[in-house]
């Protein structure tokens, strides 16, 4: 029984987080009505010329640096021709001769320790449109919203050897790209897509076997299943001659748990690459290069170590925060305005996460700026806002964001406006305390007679009347003092 080695290379397409498309000013957005983010340029109509989006180059450089690549200081765009209905000009503008970044690596953790997966290159290109297959009319409907959305394609060397390694690589890529705000990198939203190039060979051989390419895996879990299936299929074919392996593109049917041969979208023809005459070369001088390098974020593992060693968080808490750039930014922002680290961490890990989950959002969607959280924590600690109302205040910040409104600078004023501030009117408190005692003399007497727990219902009644808007310590002291009179 031969032992086989699986050899895998990945081509990962990532949508860049820019506001507009790569060569025209249409909106780079999602979930819009079909053909509403389009113009004559990205619809393949004659007359408009491509003008490159500076931010795309910035993010391309950022990605290159995050993946330890050499940045090509002169980078150019080229045309790749083929016919398909989702390609309105019947060519894609991409980078063939001089991609933005080459020869990098991503370090993953494996059972045998850290392993570097080499990145062959990163190039910038435009996305194609979307096809919707309508079964009623037996036609295909074409939506160009996604045409010309900026992408980077990250091409790895065939250094991966298992589904585990592929998963680790993808998760690491995703983390780095999100951390650097290059992309949201969400597979379920299609902002990160991976094509898997897989072959097998007898262990110890240096010759590569027949390679198949798999596409359309909608999640990392699906990729794992696809790799496991395809590896088995290759081995079966080689050992038992069940089928002849052919170099081809295959789709993955997750429901059926099988891969299937796809009709090649680009009919195995020559792509006729040539330099785009309308787009001038991009030359990155030292100033630009240094500016991007300075903008790179601290790596997640560096943050984790720092949170544990210098800030004193537990490994667990630091680990959760370090998974998300938004969590880290919020945490550090809160600390910057004086919040205690453990409290800030807790508010994020427990309260914020709770609200995010309830709203079906992810950690990267956290809309609370660190300074706002810091101020909020301060208000609760100072007794200006009760703990319960503090959580309501947090929800109110989420609501602001979903309405597209910005978070105010002064959280105290905001709390006031939301009616969540504790009453500082001692007179009002005294009145309520007096009223509650008068309304329930038996429980009051029980407390005076030594039953400590009798305080609770009285306290509860006061809180109810005050709608929770009071400093609980102050209320408790007032109540006890009044009872002891």
């Amino acid at each position: 029984m031969t032992a086989f080695e699986t050899v895998i290379g990945l081509e990962v397409h990532v949508e860049l987080a820019t506001k507009s498309k790569i060569f025209c000013s249409c909106t780079n957005g999602s979930d819009a009505e079909p053909n509403t983010h389009v113009c004559p340029a990205c619809c393949g109509m004659p007359g408009m010329l491509p003008v490159a989006n500076r931010q795309v180059i910035n993010l391309g450089m950022t990605a290159g640096m995050m993946l330890n690549c050499h940045i090509n200081r002169t980078t150019t765009f080229d045309k790749k021709s083929y016919y398909y209905p989702d390609l309105p000009a019947s060519y894609q503008t991409t980078q063939w001769f001089a991609p933005i970044a080459v020869n990098g690596y991503v370090t993953i953790q494996t059972e045998d320790g850290p392993k570097d997966i080499r990145v062959k290159q990163i190039h910038m290109e435009e996305d194609a449109g979307k096809l919707v297959h309508d079964n009623l009319t037996y036609t295909t409907l074409v939506d160009f919203n996604r045409t010309s959305v900026p992408l980077i394609e990250i091409v790895s060397q065939p250094d991966l050897r298992s589904a585990d390694e592929v998963v680790a690589y993808l998760e690491r890529l995703r983390s780095l790209l999100r951390f650097a705000k290059v992309s949201g990198a969400r597979m379920e939203k299609g902002t990160m897509r991976a094509d898997v190039n897989l072959s097998v060979r007898p262990a110890g051989s240096t010759v590569l076997g027949v390679r198949t390419e798999m596409k359309n895996m909608a999640s990392i879990a699906a990729i794992r299943r696809a790799i496991e299936y395809e590896t088995a299929r290759h081995i079966d074919a080689i050992e038992n001659g069940t089928e002849e392996l052919v170099q081809e593109t295959r789709g993955w049917d997750d429901d059926a748990g099988k891969s299937f041969a796809m009709r090649n979208k680009e009919t195995a023809g020559d792509y006729r690459y040539f330099p785009d005459p309308n787009i001038m070369p991009v030359v990155i001088d030292d100033e630009w290069y240094d500016q991007i390098r300075a903008s790179l974020p601290e790596l997640p593992e560096v943050k984790l170590e720092r949170y544990v060693a210098q800030v004193g968080l537990s490994d667990y808490d630091a680990g959760i925060l370090a998974q998300s750039r938004a969590f880290c930014d919020c945490f550090e922002g809160a600390m910057a305005v004086g919040a205690a680290p453990k409290e800030a961490a807790n508010w994020i890990i427990t309260n914020c996460t709770g609200i995010l989950n309830k709203r079906g959002l992810t950690s990267e969607d956290l809309p609370v700026p660190g300074r706002a959280l810091g101020q909020l924590i301060g208000l609760v600690n100072d007794g200006k806002v009760s703990s319960a109302n503090g959580k309501r205040l947090l929800e109110a910040l989420f609501d602001l964001d979903s309405r597209g409104e910005s978070v105010p600078e002064d959280m105290a004023a905001f709390a006031e406006a939301e009616g969540l501030v504790n009453s500082s009117d001692t007179g009002a408190l005294e009145a309520v305390v007096a009223a509650v005692i008068a309304a329930d003399p038996e429980t009051a007497q029980a407390y005076r007679d030594g039953r400590e727990k009798a305080l609770n219902p009285l306290f509860g009644a006061c809180m109810k009347q005050l709608k929770g808007k009071c400093d609980t310590q102050v209320l408790r002291s007032l109540l006890i003092a009044e009872l002891k009179k």
Binding site: N35, T137, L141, G251, R263, P275, M280
Partner: protein
């Protein structure tokens, strides 16, 4: 360039020549091969490509979205459209 290669070239470019046109085209391509030989005579060993005739770099625009065209206008001349989409015969995966 022979007839088979020409057929492949036609397919790649979504064209279908008539047999007469193919004869014409093959003669045309034969003449072009002579052109390529003439070009090969020119020594370009140490000459760099010139993609752009005027030297400029970094012609870039700022990342500001704008949508001045409506879907109605863009689809107005579509031969076949449905529900805001361009429409074509069913494309097989």
């Amino acid at each position: 360039m022979d007839r088979d290669a020409l057929l492949g070239l036609e397919r790649l470019n979504q064209l279908a020549l008539t047999p007469e046109e193919q004869d014409e085209m093959l003669a045309f391509f034969a003449a072009r091969e002579t052109d390529w030989e003439s070009l090969a005579q020119v020594d370009t060993a140490n000459v760099e490509r010139m993609v752009h005739v005027r030297p400029m770099v970094n012609v870039l625009r700022e990342d500001v979205p704008a949508q001045p065209f409506s879907r109605e206008d863009l689809l107005a001349q579509a031969p076949e459209s449905m529900d805001g989409y361009w429409q074509v015969p069913r494309v097989l995966q």
